[in-house]
């Protein structure tokens, strides 16, 4: 496992030091255990590749927008992903020139997939993080103070949870108007209630833990207690859930695109590519196959990571 040891070094892990710490019976960090789980390493590798590429490509696209030279956005790609339709290159099967074939408009699918990556990564992060921000505040307040506050906040949460998420998202994004940001808002609106529930549940157990109760005797301000003791300690299980959720957001985002909501043509999006390709299935199988495979791969990456993270935090305490 050469690459793994390089990765470990890069992350500042030193096997010799860790071995000594382990020999002293100390519990090592979550990440140490994660890097000893194969499925976690595979997940981390997929996520890292996805994020690294999204960052680089995202910066290029931003630069392109800033300098008013959109071609910067596909400087690193083999082909122009939004080239004007060309019948001569329409629906070519995978070849050396077009590794994943071309679509009906004659654009390179590989380039289009890479071009669309930053938007998916961005959507996943914005939606999950804003859902966590909103959900944590409401959930912690409801759980910690209880009483009528809890009743009101949780009934609102339940109302949101009672709607089928996708339908609500579609309705909302239609209401706000088409576009990338309206999809993000719609997704956040359907995403936060789960986190509110999650944080409330964590808060209910944490607020009776000794270190929360005792901090009242020290005169620690309530805001500090809520953040330092409750939010920070509620985070571990939430991170596991978040990791799984990144994949789900990408999937839902793609589903919306598949249904024609969100990014408008000619700009590529994984979900809409898969959906467009479906009408040429199975003769031009690559059109829908590769976008679907990409979505699947990224989602699996997040699931592998989230799953093993969950395993590690629930089994870490060895007494």
């Amino acid at each position: 496992m050469k690459p793994l040891s390089i990765l470990k070094k890069a992350l500042g892990f030193r096997d010799d030091v860790d071995a000594v710490r382990a020999a002293k019976g100390e519990n090592l960090s979550t990440w140490y255990y994660l890097l000893h789980k194969k499925q976690a390493v595979v997940g981390i590798a997929i996520i890292a590749m996805f994020l690294a590429w999204s960052t680089v490509e995202g910066i290029m696209q931003l630069l392109g927008g800033y300098t008013r030279d959109p071609s910067l956005g596909w400087l690193l790609l083999p082909h122009n992903p939004i080239s004007s339709p060309s019948l001569t290159t329409s629906l070519l099967p995978p070849s050396l020139r077009y590794p994943m074939g071309t679509n009906f408009e004659g654009q390179d699918i590989f380039s289009r997939l890479l071009y669309a990556a930053p938007k998916d990564a961005f959507a996943a992060f914005v939606v999950v993080l804003s859902a966590v921000a909103l959900g944590s505040i409401l959930g912690i307040v409801a759980g910690y103070y209880g009483g009528w506050m809890d009743e009101i906040l949780m009934r609102i949460t339940d109302a949101f949870l009672a709607f089928p998420g996708l339908v609500l998202a579609i309705a909302l994004s239609v209401l706000i108007g088409p576009g990338f940001s309206s999809v993000l808002i719609a997704l956040t609106v359907i995403w936060w209630p789960v986190y509110a529930r999650l944080f409330r549940g964590q808060t209910l157990t944490l607020k009776y833990r000794g270190f929360v109760e005792i901090s009242r005797l020290f005169g620690v301000s309530e805001a500090k207690v809520l953040f330092r003791h409750i939010f920070m300690n509620a985070l571990d299980p939430v991170i596991a859930y978040m990791a799984l959720d990144f994949g789900t957001v990408i999937l839902t985002y793609s589903t919306l695109a598949f249904l024609g909501i969100g990014i408008q043509p000619p700009y590529p999006e994984w979900g809409s590519m898969a959906s467009n390709g479906l009408s040429f299935f199975p003769s031009a199988w690559w059109y829908t196959f590769f976008p679907s495979l990409t979505i699947l791969l990224v989602v699996i990456g997040f699931i592998l990571f989230g799953d093993s993270f969950q395993d590690v935090i629930s089994g870490r305490v060895v007494d």
């Binding site: 000794g210 005792i214 901090s215 005797l217 305490v317």
Partner: protein
């Protein structure tokens, strides 16, 4: 002998179930678990008072109320003569600390030991906080430079409990509630922590309320002892006296239930189980399990009788109390005091200095 903490008919009832709006409209009555029911205790300065009882006796609830972590349903708590209420709460909290049974629960797993102790110094007036952290960690026998950067999970059980004690000391309290501080520890470590607590009390003049179910530990650590059963104090007095000659049938039977290291040790278990706090038995709460119970015990709840320097809630001791009072006019005064205020003490430790 100065009184530090006193309670007057302290009660804490918990709602047994949460009634919905419909049930309330249907006229269903809220039922209560009487965790602490009419309890009067007096804790003297620089003394260790042990609070002994089994689960459901209300000892932890009482400890939490005295540590200001829980509010009584009724009754009063006085700290150095000042009644504990909303206004006095902050000033009382300067002087009160608590150490919980399970140090794993009471130390934030995400914070380093230094951060944990520093948090206790939020209100601390002194300038040198870092110095204070070092000082208290060293006072409990931990090596500051070895330990300050670690998380609680990297420590052994005994070390964790020492950190919890150090944190309680950090803000210079007068009164520390110790809620079963050694029952999660191994036998060989328990004695280390007990010795430490004794030494700290001598050094800093703390007043302890030591809550425990372990009779031997209670006997070792305490000057005075309260035995609780089903939310009530059943016996109270000087530890030595209570342990050498227990009065209340429950105390007697409890002692016979404790396994010892004597070669001839035998267990004499008492029958039955602790009563439901929802519907405590009428009369004396111990009557269903008591081998000496007679008619009156099942009907009338005994009040605390003052016998010598001891308080016993048992009908068997009513006569002895009367005889006692006739002998001494001082005791008669004491009786009137008990009758009027519903409380007792402080009273001198006979022939002993502390």
């Amino acid at each position: 002998m100065v009184e530090l903490v006193r309670t007057e008919s302290l009660r804490r009832y918990f709602a047994a179930e949460k009634l919905g709006l419909l049930e309330k409209l249907a006229g269903r009555k809220q039922r209560y678990i009487k965790a602490v029911d009419d309890v009067n205790v007096v804790l003297n300065k620089n003394e260790t008072t042990a609070l002994v009882g089994e689960s459901g006796s209300g000892k932890t609830t009482l400890g939490r109320m005295l540590a200001t972590l829980d509010t009584p349903t009724s009754g009063k708590i006085f700290y150095s003569g000042v009644e504990l209420n909303e206004d006095a709460l902050e000033s009382v909290r300067h002087k009160v600390q608590i150490v919980f049974q399970n140090p794993y629960e009471s130390l934030d797993p995400r914070m380093s030991i230094r951060q944990i102790i520093e948090e206790a110094l939020t209100r601390y007036g002194g300038d040198d906080r870092a110095g204070r952290v070092k000082e208290v960690l060293e006072a409990v026998g931990l090596n500051y430079s070895d330990i300050h950067y670690r998380k609680a999970r990297d420590l052994y059980g005994g070390q964790r409990q020492r950190v919890a004690v150090a944190r309680a000391m950090a803000a210079n309290p007068e009164f520390i509630v110790l809620d079963e501080p050694t029952s999660a520890l191994d036998a060989s470590v328990q004695s280390q922590v007990l010795n430490l607590l004794v030494q700290l009390k001598k050094q800093y003049g703390y007043t302890y309320l030591f809550i425990t179910h372990n009779m031997m530990v209670a006997r070792y650590i305490s000057d005075r002892i309260y035995i609780m059963y089903a939310g009530k104090v059943v016996e109270a007095g000087l530890s030595e006296e209570v342990f050498t000659d227990p009065f209340h049938p429950y105390t007697k039977l409890l002692m016979e239930s404790v396994p010892s290291l004597e070669p001839t040790a035998r267990l004499e278990p008492m029958k039955g189980e602790a009563p439901s706090l929802l519907n405590p038995p009428p009369g004396c709460r111990f009557s269903p399990r008591c081998p000496y119970a007679f008619d009156r015990c099942f009907k009338e709840e005994p009040r605390l009788h003052l016998v010598g320097q001891r308080l016993v809630a048992c009908h068997l001791f009513e006569d002895r109390e009367r005889r006692n009072f006739r002998q001494s006019s001082f005791m008669l005064l004491a009786e009137t005091a008990v009758w009027r205020t519903g409380t007792w003490g402080p009273w001198p430790l006979a022939g002993r200095s502390c």
